[in-house]
């Protein structure tokens, strides 16, 4: 039976600066968890520890009971943990279609092939079309990513990551840089994600967080302050004082 992601006593420090303190965390299949906290709380660091960009000082990270803490980033992706970036790091001079083709080919183990055209596999192209449709990117399929509006680039970022068919999807500030008038596009895209996918959303936009998350984890100074449903968190006086304050209900 699938148990998802489990983190136990995770610690990380850069010299004398502690950025993750004794974090215990889990993400079950189908979860929609949000990680919130003030700037510098260690949210992105925590995400980077989960994906293997950073190596923890101590603690364990397990996926479906298997220790993945020692795996490199690329191996962890293959194990099923994928992340979008806070600042988009797309292949800007490639078309949207090519951007999505890369992870599909990588996931299928075909990106090492020296022969045969990259765009000649009908199954791969169908999969790309499905993702383009899911994220309403079909009209821009052949457009170079650098020519897209930033909001659309965020959608490409999500489509590209979803092309890896992850079991754990970490969305690092998916609405960052998107005009508030367009943030509903990102919210709708998250709502359309597969139901059995475990999603961790790191986000400052509380409107988005309270709309899509079923659990909220509050991180302060590298440690988990509290965890609860959106209703519980919005009533928590400590969270309101430390972080939500004026943000929620703005």
């Amino acid at each position: 039976m699938s148990v998802g992601l489990e983190v136990e006593n995770l610690n990380m420090n850069f010299g004398g600066i502690v950025v993750a303190r004794d974090i215990n965390f889990d993400l079950r299949p189908g979860d929609r968890k949000a990680l919130i906290g003030p700037n510098g709380a260690g949210k992105t660091t925590f995400a980077n520890l989960l994906t293997g960009i950073l190596t923890p000082s101590s603690g364990t990270i397990r996926l479906d009971g298997q220790d993945i803490g020692h795996l490199k980033e690329s191996r962890r992706v293959k194990a099923g943990v994928a992340k979008t970036f806070q600042i988009t790091t797309l292949f800007k001079r490639m078309s949207v279609r090519e951007n999505i083709r890369l992870p599909v080919l990588e996931r299928r183990g075909e990106s090492r092939n020296w022969f045969g055209r990259a765009d000649a596999n009908a199954e791969v192209e169908d999969e790309i079309d499905t993702l383009l449709t899911q994220f309403n990117l079909q009209p821009s399929a052949e457009v170079q990513v650098q020519d897209l509006a930033y909001g659309q680039q965020r959608l490409v970022e999500m489509a590209l990551t979803l092309a890896l068919k992850p079991r754990i999807l970490i969305l690092d500030e998916p609405s960052a840089g998107v005009p508030s008038s367009d943030s509903h596009v990102v919210t709708e895209a998250i709502e359309r994600l597969p139901e059995d996918l475990s999603v961790l959303i790191i986000e400052h936009d509380m409107k988005l967080v309270f709309k899509v998350a079923n659990t909220i984890v509050v991180l302060v100074d590298g440690a988990i302050l509290t965890e609860g449903t959106p209703a519980e968190i919005s009533k928590d006086q400590q969270v309101r004082d430390l972080y939500l304050g004026a943000r929620h209900g703005r």
Partner: protein, 327 residues
Amino acid sequence: MTKSISTSRVGNNAAMGLALDVLLISAGIAAYFLFPDNLGFLTRVLIMIIMVLSLDLVLGYAGIATLGHAALFGTGAYAAGLFAVYISGDPLLGLGVGAAAGGVIAFFSGLILMRAHGLTLLMLSIAVAQVLQEIVNKERPVTGGSDGLQGIDMDPVLGIFAFDFFGRTGYWYALIVLFVVFFFLKIVVASPFGLAARGIQESAPRMRAIGTPVYWRLVGIYTLAGAVAGIAGALSAQVTELVSLDALGFTLSAEALIMLILGGLGRLYGAFFGTIIFMTVHHTAASIDPFNWLFVIGALVLLVVYFVPEGLLGLPEKLRKHLRWGG
């Protein structure tokens, strides 16, 4: 709708590519008849195009900045030369040995080089070539040292076509090898492997985030480029029947880079145009003024980098845009 646009664009690109291929092959054949007294020079151009194609794979597609590509060329040249002197004069076997030697040295040096980036990578790539050059220089009894490797005597190609004084066989041999390499590389850059190489150049962190082992992929690309540069080196050794220390020299690496920048990176065809123009200007300017010909090359590079940073291959697109704005 999108699919039909995409298909027609792919079709247009394929048609343009085919037209360019036919043009290049025709030019290669025509040059033999138009310049029968310059076959030696033309053969050097063909060999250099292979070297620049290899550099394009590394720099233009994968974004590996190197100033030590001569290490791979020179290794192929010395390996094929030594093979011809001590083991067999068969040209095709020699080409294989050159390719293998270039690939092996690229693999082992790549294990170190591909961990570095930017200036460190540039410096290390130069260092590898310099170390190899010094080793060859010191091993005089085997390599000929600063006198160069001599005594290379090639058998006829396929046992039929003997290398001749006027360089006719050498020219056809180099031309055929060039187009075999070129069409092979065209297949590779259009493959999933080629797309992944472009992905690494565009965003290595993103490639890691989609599960690509970036380091090993770079080592793979560098090894392939090493084999191609090794073929160029082997051809040079076989056609000229001499290998000198210059085959591992910094000048060769730098000139190859200038040729690629002139022609345009990341499109393979740039290697043809950049090399032909560089070597023709070099040949002509040096014969007019042997002391100041570098000024002409320098001015040419400045003009291209300033006005067409995409290289000469970007010129038609630049003109088209200019005319559209003007009109």
